[in-house]
């Protein structure tokens, strides 16, 4: 079969994909950004956050797990889809304790960056749940503040597939679903500061924190200070759209 054989459309623009490739991957290569949280380069997609929701021939699907198919029409940057993503990101903000002014991930946090990109200004739609969640500071090098965890499972997949350790895993169900560690606390596990699972960029938010490196980039030079999230993928950056 010829490479790039599958031709389909994203928002009316013709895109070529390879067999077995996901819509998100093909979009990335075509310079079209589809917002995402649980997906990150290098890890198997999990399809759980639904921020990458698109419409395929009128039906919603997760772009990070849905394979490309010939002739499909994908809706990505439409008002309806943008509103859907805004609601998902809003819910994530309201479900945990996201106090950005005192968070070490601020400025490089993907949740926050998506808030900016999706133009979330007024937090008036959902109540703040303000749950009471543990902070695990037992480990000498790593800290876990589950108040900020969005349960994307990136640390779980990185620990399992890259570190072959299974340090992180889900515990509980429904709204009580949490990320837990395979020991009494972090200090009781075999996690190491050099593990992929705890490297910056795996946890999209400020849940996994490397100690003694706090606030390493000054304000103004942090990852998303200069360019909105997604502009590294976009050929024609659009930034915030209401």
């Amino acid at each position: 079969m010829v490479n790039n054989a599958i031709v389909f459309k994203i928002d009316g623009v013709e895109v070529r994909g390879k067999p077995g490739q996901t819509i998100m991957h093909a979009a990335d290569e075509a310079g079209i950004y589809i917002p995402r949280l649980c997906d990150v380069e290098g890890l198997e997609p999990q399809g759980s956050c639904r921020v990458c929701t698109v419409k395929i021939n009128g039906r919603t699907a997760a772009a990070c797990t849905q394979p490309v198919a010939p002739g499909i029409e994908v809706e990505n940057d439409t008002l309806e889809i943008r509103n859907c993503r805004r609601d998902i990101v809003r819910m994530l903000f309201h479900e945990g304790n996201h106090l950005c002014p005192c968070c070490e991930a601020s400025g490089r946090c993907e949740l926050q960056a998506l808030g900016y990109r999706l133009g979330i200004l007024q937090p008036d739609k959902y109540p703040y749940l303000q749950p009471v969640r543990p902070v695990d500071a037992s480990h000498p090098d790593i800290m876990l503040d589950t108040n900020r965890c969005i349960r994307c499972g990136r640390c779980i997949r990185a620990s399992r597939h890259m570190d072959h350790k299974n340090v992180f895993g889900y515990i509980g169900r429904g709204i009580n679903k949490q990320v837990g560690v395979n020991g009494k606390n972090l200090a009781q596990t075999n996690v190491h500061i050099d593990d992929h699972a705890v490297a910056p960029g795996i946890c999209p938010v400020g849940c996994i924190i490397q100690k003694r490196r706090g606030f390493y980039d000054p304000v103004g030079q942090r990852r998303f200070d200069l360019h909105p999230i997604g502009t590294e993928i976009e050929k024609t950056p659009k930034g915030i759209k209401k």
Partner: protein, 186 residues
């Protein structure tokens, strides 16, 4: 054009948002041509003199006086704007809600603050309890949880530029187009 009346107040905040208003720098001269300040820490006026067009609120509600003040503002201002993360979502004071692990969280919070922390010097071993002190609430509430807010500007604090744009938009009745760089949650 008749000058608009503006009022501002700090509830459970650090005054950083008020300081940020001063960051509009020399544009403050333009501002005083457009508006008249009513009750505000800017002119140290403690009570309303007249009904106001716009009220800016810094900080959320952590004690009964905050609630009282906020309700007064709602009654006396046509448009109410929450300025900064403290007013919008509780900001740093709201950490008190999130760290309440015990059965008696408020007591633990006060005991940690006044008795048990390593750097506390408190020879009488009292937790401040003067009748003149406003009663502290069970938890910190956002402004929108207490009264209806019309607009909310995130940031800790929002920059002088964004405040300037917001004020102008409110005065002209037109929404302003905010570039992404000025929108901050921190």
């Amino acid at each position: 054009m008749k000058k608009k009346r503006i009022s501002t107040i700090s509830l459970a905040g650090c005054f950083g948002c008020h300081m940020s208003l001063l960051d509009i720098d020399e544009r403050i001269l333009e501002l005083v041509k457009l508006v008249e300040f009513d009750r505000s820490p800017v002119n140290d006026l403690k009570r309303f003199k007249a009904r106001c067009d716009i009220g800016f609120i810094e900080g959320g509600c952590c004690n009964e006086e905050n609630v009282h003040t906020l309700r007064k503002f709602r009654r006396n201002c046509d448009v109410l704007v929450a300025v900064g993360q403290c007013a919008v979502m509780g900001g740093l004071p709201v950490m008190r809600n999130a760290i309440m692990h015990s059965k008696d969280p408020l007591r633990e919070c006060l005991e940690t603050a006044y008795l048990n922390s390593p750097y506390v010097y408190n020879p009488t071993n009292d937790i401040p309890n003067d009748p003149a002190l406003p009663l502290i609430l069970d938890k910190v509430y956002t402004c929108a949880e207490v009264v209806k807010m019309d607009y909310q500007i995130p940031g800790c604090p929002p920059s002088g530029d964004i405040l300037w744009q917001a004020i102008n938009a409110l005065l002209n009745g037109k929404p302003s187009d905010l570039p992404s760089e000025v929108i901050k949650f921190d």
